[in-house]
């Protein structure tokens, strides 16, 4: 299968970045929908995979050469973020993939929904909303999909800790016990 070149995308959208290590186009803020429509018009008619990736704040060690020509190790802090990843293919040209990434902060995670462009994002974006807590603007039916509606938290986040008892809910047990001890309820 032929790979799709990312150069035309970067020419059309000068704000977009190319992440060499991941082999992905980083979508500039607020242009995801426009870019998706442009890509759909250029033959990428099939969005195969949509998912999220959670990155906690972490320290990265890098070797750089300073002004004096010496190699030194520098520690750099990478901010926390969530990526929403899209794998795009072209069914008509039988080419692909082109990887898109929408970057968003962790605290107020928000991304543009591409469901109006590719229907296949529908259930998968709901899954990202459910498991990662990313809010998709423009999604027609954003609800939890795998977890139940009353569930709290987003289990695929790296810092998620599970509760002691998933199904704990307040019962009138203690109240009734108290009344019973006071002699008001006959059991």
């Amino acid at each position: 299968m032929n790979e799709i070149s990312h150069e035309p995308v970067l020419q059309q959208f000068p704000d977009a970045e190319w992440d060499e290590a991941a082999g992905a186009v980083i979508v500039p803020l607020g242009q995801a929908r426009t870019m998706a429509e442009w890509l759909l018009g250029h033959g990428l008619d099939y969005c195969s995979n949509v998912t999220g990736v959670d990155y906690l704040e972490r320290e990265v060690k890098e070797k750089i050469t300073n002004d004096a020509g010496e190699v030194e190790t520098v520690t750099r802090t990478e901010p926390a973020r969530i990526d929403v990843v899209y794998h795009l293919y072209s069914m008509q040209n039988k080419t692909g993939p082109l990887v898109l990434k929408q970057r968003t902060s962790r605290d107020n995670a928000e991304a543009e929904s591409l469901t109006p462009v590719w229907r296949s994002c529908d259930l998968q974006e709901r899954e990202v909303f459910d498991l990662f807590g990313v809010n998709f603007k423009g999604h027609p039916d954003q609800r939890r999909i795998l977890m139940w509606d009353e569930f709290e938290g987003h289990p695929m986040r790296k810092d998620y800790t599970e509760p002691f008892d998933y199904e704990w809910e307040p019962t009138p047990h203690n109240e009734i016990l108290e009344k019973h001890q006071k002699g008001k309820v006959i059991v």
Partner: protein, 383 residues
């Protein structure tokens, strides 16, 4: 506990009579849902006016589990995704991981992989057709014929891997063990006998008047919608798109085999098309199996891949043509023995996107066979 809104019973005026929309919750224990799957259906008489698929009852967060163990440890877990097709699940995962560690797969292993994958396709399609006919109301008989044939292939799996369904047979860079002596001959016998069964099965079913009238023109899926909704596998080809990853990606050694990709010529597909495509695909699989069994030679079955490895930070997406559609694995390595992100792209889940579109306006009894023709396995939908 539930916070679901009260059902909205709209009044309908019909011929001076007032009636209500009826809300039916089909499932999660309905026998036609092939597992624990629920359809919230709104009915006007017998006509479906709204449908919402509800699932997640089998959710076990497979992806989170895999992120907390080494690469190889989640290989047995992939068997449990689509429990009919453990061999192809293994292959898709191995393909994605092999891209990260760049290991060569020996030729004999490649041949055995193709043989196992095509046998799996036979198992899946033959059972699916059995269940599909079962959904139509032909209780038992065709399904049990299908199960009889499936059993012969499961015996082969057991002889090769030690397990009938949870095979756990693939490894990064090859296979766990070679097939026992005489296995290829036995496999050849099963493959040679299979067309006789298919002839009988086709004669029994394909022109059956009840099947024709129940499935033709039911659950239409237009080509544009199928492409946009990411529908893959036999369902996509039934809607008139000749897109098969065995031809497009040519992963493994599929470029060496001669086979055709069945698809319909029109630009819409109904339940009968989806049923027939699977029958035709089985014939092609038999062709591939015969070529592979003739072409296989002696040799190594394992490349030199380490058991525990630390891939360099990179991302990979491996996908194969599973019996149900495109099965993909997306892995992000961060230099540790565990994947940083592990994602399954389940064909069953994404094919469900169009369930509502296909059922709207149809009868409630047809919703059952439309769901049957999608071919879902809840182990994969819910993960």
């Amino acid at each position: 506990m539930s916070t679901a809104a009260a059902p909205n019973y709209e009044l309908i005026q019909q011929d001076g009579l007032e009636t209500n929309l009826l809300e039916v919750s089909m499932g999660p224990h309905h026998p036609s849902t092939h597992g624990v799957f629920r359809m919230d259906v709104k009915l006007d008489g017998e006509t479906v006016v709204d449908l919402r698929p509800v699932f997640g009852y089998l959710h076990r967060n497979h992806e989170k589990l895999a992120e907390n163990m080494s690469y190889l440890s989640s290989m047995p877990f992939t068997d449990r995704l689509d429990y009919f097709n453990s061999m192809t699940n293994n292959w898709a995962y191995a393909l994605a991981a092999e891209k990260l560690i760049e290991v060569e797969v020996p030729e004999r292993a490649e041949y055995l992989r193709v043989i196992m994958a095509e046998l799996t396709r036979l198992v899946n399609h033959v059972t699916l057709i059995g269940f599909f006919i079962n959904d139509l109301g032909a209780l038992g008989t065709p399904l049990l014929y299908a199960f009889r044939e499936r059993e012969k292939i499961l015996d082969l799996f057991e002889q090769a891997s030690g397990a009938r369904m949870m095979c756990n047979y693939f490894r990064f860079g090859g296979l766990r063990n070679d097939v026992p002596e005489g296995w290829l001959k036995r496999a050849g016998e099963v493959v040679d006998r299979f067309p006789y069964f298919l002839d009988e099965y086709e004669q029994l079913l394909c022109e059956n008047e009840i099947i024709l009238s129940r499935t033709q023109g039911v659950g239409n899926l237009p080509r544009e919608l199928a492409i946009s909704a990411g529908v893959t596998g036999p369902m996509l080809r039934a809607s008139g798109v000749a897109y098969d990853l065995r031809k497009v990606d040519q992963y493994g050694i599929y470029d060496r085999f001669k086979f055709r990709v069945p698809y319909t010529e029109g630009d819409t597909g109904d339940c009968y098309d989806r049923f027939m495509i699977r029958v035709l695909e089985m014939r092609e699989s038999i062709g591939i199996l015969k070529q592979a069994l003739a072409g296989i030679s002696e040799g190594e079955i394992m490349g030199n891949a380490p058991r525990v490895f630390k891939p360099k930070p990179a991302e990979s997406y491996g996908r194969i043509e599973g019996p149900k559609g495109e099965l993909g694995f997306y892995l992000i390595a961060d230099g540790t023995p565990k994947p940083y992100r592990y994602r399954v792209r389940p064909p069953s889940l994404i094919n469900l996107t169009v369930l509502r579109d296909m059922c709207l306006g149809g009868k409630i009894a047809d919703a059952v066979i439309i769901l049957g023709s999608i071919d879902i396995v809840l182990g994969e939908v819910d993960r």
